[in-house]
């Protein structure tokens, strides 16, 4: 059966991967090429790379970099940031992206969704919606990296994107971004129930438990940005946690982290010394394909 995807989001600013907090503060993490390579090796199911300088600088993503990253990326690579025209979509796919994400353009020029879907296939078009809670407790969608209030609800945008032929929705919570307090389940539930196309959640994961909390919502993908950057084997560890909680995820890496327990910060607990001793001398021949 179809497994829930664990998706690594790389927020790229000034050419490097950054940690994002409420779409306002950005702290450096490192090289996108290294991040793509590591996530790939740790069995991530998909990678979304967002160039967040592109829209404010009125340009499309850096194509030469995409070509470089895609070389070692053997999982689907979704690229976004400043994509505004059909030509932008074509160039980005040509450079090595498997799918593209549009955010501001989906609101400003929604015809791009249908044109893109018709020319490149709905599978290539992911619409991302950044949402935040307003003063009166309602969710609103924002564009331009959270700076511009569209005046519309995320559900409304998601429904329009679906009607226009988008393949998937990526719903991002601005308030939860970088907070490590878990997904905004209310927001995700609203969007999931509103559309019949796959929905991917993002924003707020700090502990593998947060992935599991979203289980009942029929989400197609569970995305996180910051969460994957700070621990070795982060993707494997998260999947092992979900598997032991009986969630349907793919765990294909040799390292399985079976029976792993976690501390309150979401880091894997140290194993017993006997176990670690045994592991030190375990010979694992590299499988040559």
């Amino acid at each position: 059966m179809l497994k829930t995807r664990l998706i690594g989001v790389l927020i790229v600013k000034g050419g490097i991967v950054v940690q994002s907090i409420n779409f306002r503060r950005y702290l450096p993490v490192g090289s996108p090429a290294v991040a793509v390579d590591y996530l790939n090796r740790w069995g991530i199911d998909e990678i979304v790379l967002l160039d967040i300088d592109a829209s404010p600088e009125s340009r499309s993503p850096e194509l030469s970099k995409i070509a470089e990253f895609s070389k070692c990326c053997q999982v689907p690579l979704t690229v976004g940031g400043g994509i505004r025209t059909v030509e932008d979509i074509e160039k980005t796919i040509h450079a090595g992206a498997d799918k593209i994400v549009i955010n501001s353009a989906a609101v400003d020029t929604p015809d791009l969704i249908s044109e893109g879907a018709e020319l490149f296939g709905a599978q290539c078009i992911m619409v991302s919606i950044d949402a935040g809670l307003t003063g009166n407790g309602e969710y609103r969608a924002f564009t331009d990296s959270g700076r511009c209030d569209t005046g519309r609800s995320p559900v409304d945008l998601a429904e329009e994107a679906e009607k226009r032929g988008a393949g998937e929705i990526l719903i991002n919570s601005i308030d939860r971004d970088g907070s490590k307090t878990g997904y905004d389940l209310e927001l995700l539930g609203q969007v999931c129930n509103a559309v019949d196309i796959p929905v991917i959640a993002c924003g707020g994961v700090g502990h593998p438990e947060h992935f599991r909390e979203a289980a009942g919502l029929n989400l197609s993908g569970l995305a996180a940005a910051n969460f994957f950057h700070f621990t070795e084997h982060s993707a494997v560890v998260a999947k092992s946690f979900l598997k032991s909680a009986r969630e349907q995820v793919r765990l294909d890496t040799y390292a399985k982290y079976e029976n792993c327990t976690f501390d309150m910060n979401g880091r894997a607990d140290k194993r017993s010394d006997e176990y670690l001793d045994k592991l030190r001398f375990e010979y694992i021949p590299e499988e040559i394909i």
Binding site: P76, G96, D98, Q123, D252
Partner: protein, 215 residues
């Protein structure tokens, strides 16, 4: 068994989707290949890969505009050169598809392409990692296992009249064809170039077949 590593693998570029991924995957395996849309390159190649993401009618229209359908058919159906179709590249082998209306396909196999049944499953496209049940012990699944995960992303699927050619299936709402093999023709609905180690193994199995003495 003789092995000829100089046999040329050609990835057909007909303007549908990210062919770079397929080349990257083959390069990761240390296998050279060329990307081309020319009739001459097709007639001199030793094996073909037809990838593809997008709509069936547009794909057939592009192939016809390039004037390569007849030459490709000759090389694959008569000269029996090894062929691997991926995703849309598998669907195009069918007699026809009802995507965006109706369009005739290459007709190399007795099959049709229909939409994923929304009565049986709510969310379409079928996108993500699903496990493929190995229906036949085919060379494409060597070292891969009977229920391995591969990456899918499609809204239409193939229905074959002859189940003998079905080598793998997956379940999404209902059982669906995930891969086929008919003589020199291999095809997968999923994307081996985007399926990490399982995908690389499958591509290696195909290239080994291309380089080996198959007669």
């Amino acid at each position: 068994m003789t092995v000829d590593n100089n046999r040329r693998i050609l990835i057909i570029n007909y303007g549908m989707g990210n062919i770079g991924s397929v080349k990257n995957a083959l390069n990761t395996l240390g296998v050279e290949c060329i990307i081309s849309d020319s009739k001459n390159d097709i007639s001199s190649a030793d094996a073909f890969i037809l990838p593809g993401v997008g709509a069936f009618p547009a794909a057939m229209s592009n192939l016809k505009k390039l004037d390569i359908v007849d030459e490709l058919t000759k090389q694959v159906m008569i000269s029996r050169k090894p062929f691997l179709g991926i995703c849309l590249g598998m669907q195009l082998l069918a007699k026809d598809s009802v995507e965006n209306g109706y369009a005739k396909g290459l007709g190399w196999i007795d099959a049709g392409v229909v939409p994923i049944d929304r009565e049986k499953i709510k969310r379409v496209p079928h996108v993500g990692w699903n496990n493929v049940l190995m229906e036949k012990d085919d060379v494409m699944y060597k070292r891969i296992g009977a229920s391995a995960h591969f990456f899918f992303d499609h809204s239409f699927h193939m229905v074959c009249s002859d189940h003998e050619m079905v080598t793998g299936t997956c379940v999404y709402g209902e059982k669906m064809v995930a891969s086929i093999r008919k003589n020199n023709i291999f095809a997968t609905q999923f994307h081996p170039e985007k399926s990490q180690r399982n995908g690389l193994k499958l591509l290696r199995n195909f290239t080994n077949f291309v380089f080996s003495d198959r007669s």
